[in-house]
């Protein structure tokens, strides 16, 4: 176990370095002369600001040196300054990150709370009406983009529940209860899409375990149906579900970026989209780096958790 954890932690280093290389190269993908493009956004085009920018971004050095210098800055917590506002990228990210994190966690909680019971019901009533309707539900929500679900939620909310706050944001530290409530529609829109995937996966995982010998043995020796389902089967069936839910986190973070635009939440998504409209490349770079690192770390955590739950897996 310890060696496995050590190995996974060691693998984290090349992965995060790779992520940083991609984030770094992003700015260099912009066609045209970088300095002119970057300066076109900010104030003057005079030689002094030009030289200052070249110096600040280390553009007068070879690309590999530029990367190492940039990486050094990043590791010291310096992500540079916004090309538009001049504010520190780190401070801007620190302001919007909690919103996106809250949204992603709430969406995942909703997805698990809806998806797992639905999958269990479908599996235990396989072949009956509830199973069929769960399948239709899953297919529809897997196919619907979260930004469309969100839009429908807003339309329906305005029409049938005008007292429900669907837009706007209250920060969690200000008022936790109100914060959770105002974010609920956005989190539900994002979570429902993933709950459909989780329900389908839970169903097939349950069916697989229900067909195994030890379940038949338990039934044969007269163990009550509920105990077979919840004690024998569910515990085993949930292991792959946990792993799958973990992989969905990467998509969840991407989805959060878009759903924030729909519900006007001041999170990372809003930040990225605004940065793109304003061609604020350092901001985009910082946001991509932060969100992807978060996704990598969540993946690692889920992977380790998976191995704690399932001790049968060899730590190869």
């Amino acid at each position: 176990m310890a060696t496995y954890v050590g190995k996974r932690l060691l693998l984290l280093i090349p992965t995060l370095l790779g992520v940083s290389v991609v984030a770094f190269l992003l700015i260099h993908l912009i066609p045209g002369d970088l300095v002119t493009i970057l300066l076109g956004i900010t104030a003057g085009q005079n030689e002094q600001t030009r030289q200052a920018l070249i110096h600040a971004l280390h553009l007068d050095r070879p690309l590999a040196v530029q990367y190492l210098l940039w990486l050094g800055d990043v590791l010291r917590g310096d992500l540079g300054h916004s090309l538009v506002s001049g504010f520190s990228v780190r401070d801007e990210l620190a302001r919007s990150y909690p919103v996106t994190l809250q949204l992603a966690l709430m969406a995942m909680a909703i997805a698990l709370a809806v998806g797992i019971p639905l999958g269990i019901f479908a599996a235990t009533r396989a072949g009956r009406a509830l199973d069929a309707s769960t399948r239709v539900f899953s297919l529809l929500f897997i196919s619907a983009p979260a930004f469309f679900i969100g839009t429908v939620v807003i339309i329906a909310g305005a029409r049938y529940a005008p007292w429900l706050p669907t837009l706007g944001h209250v920060s969690f530290t200000e008022s936790p209860a109100r914060s959770l409530l105002t974010m609920l529609p956005a989190a539900a829109s994002l979570g429902l899409a993933i709950s459909a995937i989780i329900a389908r996966f839970t169903r097939s995982s349950m069916l697989e375990v229900l067909g195994q010998d030890f379940v038949r043995t338990a039934r044969a020796k007269g163990v009550a149906d509920g105990v077979v389902v919840y004690k024998h089967t569910l515990r085993n069936a949930l292991i792959p579900v946990v792993a799958m839910a973990g992989t969905q986190f990467v998509y969840l973070i991407g989805g959060a970026v878009i759903i924030e635009e729909v519900f006007a939440l001041p999170g990372m998504g809003r930040l990225v989209v605004n940065a793109i409209y304003q061609r604020d490349y350092t901001m985009i770079q910082g946001a991509v780096l932060l969100l992807t690192s978060a996704a990598v770390l969540v993946n690692l955590a889920v992977d380790l958790l998976y191995h704690v739950i399932d001790r049968r897996i060899l730590y190869a």
Partner: protein, 290 residues
């Protein structure tokens, strides 16, 4: 390799006919293709034609799905939207299939240091939330249909590469490949005649599922204003601009939104049905339950 599949062909055909997913998915995809190919003849009006004084009309006899905020026929725009959506999705997935299969089969067949290196690289790419990387890449390159297709192709390619590599690794030690090699068949002959035909079905399943994902990604990028640029009628863009009026005129967002959903659903069903046909164990599990 082709003999066993021939003997199961009637059984496959019978299962295919019984599969509801295949029928519904196939019909939806066929409808999409017809809409995309024949949009100019099927649509009642040109997608960019503006009817002055007919802004935000509800669905009715003159405009079956109503009109948008500048007075354009929504039905015509949704039909032409299929052309925009598939026009990005099909070329990018085609590029990803060709590129990914070439890379994956070569890595699996020859292995060695390039294989190890490429797999690490793919691991890094998989770490990125795909939509985020797509947003960042398109933002850096500038939004255009060509950049969109290339970006999505590059992001989709690793899935096919990993799939093709794994399948090649599984096929390589099998007797018929080893026998071909012992008989002195060239690498090109082994790859083209023995490996690739056995990969085709798996890749076809993944292609259907990838198309459904890519349609979503294109819609999401257009929704953010980074995809296909107006006045081209992209579903994501229509949905985005319609949001301003959504509470008074919900058809502005419902029509393109449902179109996206239907397109994704169609390719999803088709992919699922293909997978069930290829994997009798899965189909059996469903047969027991359905």
């Amino acid at each position: 390799m082709s003999d066993p599949s021939r003997s199961t062909a009637p059984r496959l055909a019978r299962r295919a006919l019984r599969s509801g997913s295949l029928l519904v998915g196939g019909l939806i995809v066929a409808g999409l293709l017809v809409a995309a190919l024949f949009a100019p003849w099927l649509a009642p009006y040109a997608p960019t034609r503006i009817f002055p004084g007919a802004e935000i009309r509800p669905p009715g006899s003159a405009f079956l799905l109503g009109t948008d905020e500048v007075g354009r026929d929504i039905l015509s725009r949704v039909l032409h939207g299929a052309r925009v959506s598939l026009g990005v999705a099909i070329p990018s997935v085609a590029l990803a299939v060709v590129g990914g299969t070439t890379v994956g089969v070569s890595l699996g067949y020859w292995g060695g240091a390039p294989d190890l290196l490429a797999m690490r690289l793919f691991d890094i790419l998989f770490a990125f939330p795909p939509i985020l990387l797509a947003i960042a890449l398109v933002a850096a390159l500038g939004p255009s249909t060509v950049n969109l297709v290339l970006t999505i192709a590059v992001l989709t390619l690793p899935q096919f590469a990993v799939l093709a590599r794994g399948a090649t690794l599984a096929l390589k030690p099998q007797d018929f490949v080893q026998a071909a090699r012992a008989l002195g068949a060239s690498h090109a002959r082994i790859l083209g005649l023995h490996i690739l035909p056995n990969l085709a079905a798996t890749l076809a399943v993944q292609a259907s599922l990838s198309l459904s994902i890519v349609i979503l990604v294109e819609a999401a990028l257009s929704f953010l204003g980074l995809g296909t640029q107006p006045p081209a009628p992209s579903w994501g863009g229509m949905l985005s601009r319609g949001r301003q009026y959504m509470t008074i005129a919900p058809w502005l967002v419902l029509a393109p939104g449902l179109a996206i959903m239907l397109a994704v659903l169609g390719f999803n069903l088709l992919g699922d049905a293909q997978r069930d046909l290829l994997d009798p164990r899965r189909a059996g599990a469903r047969g027991r339950s359905a």
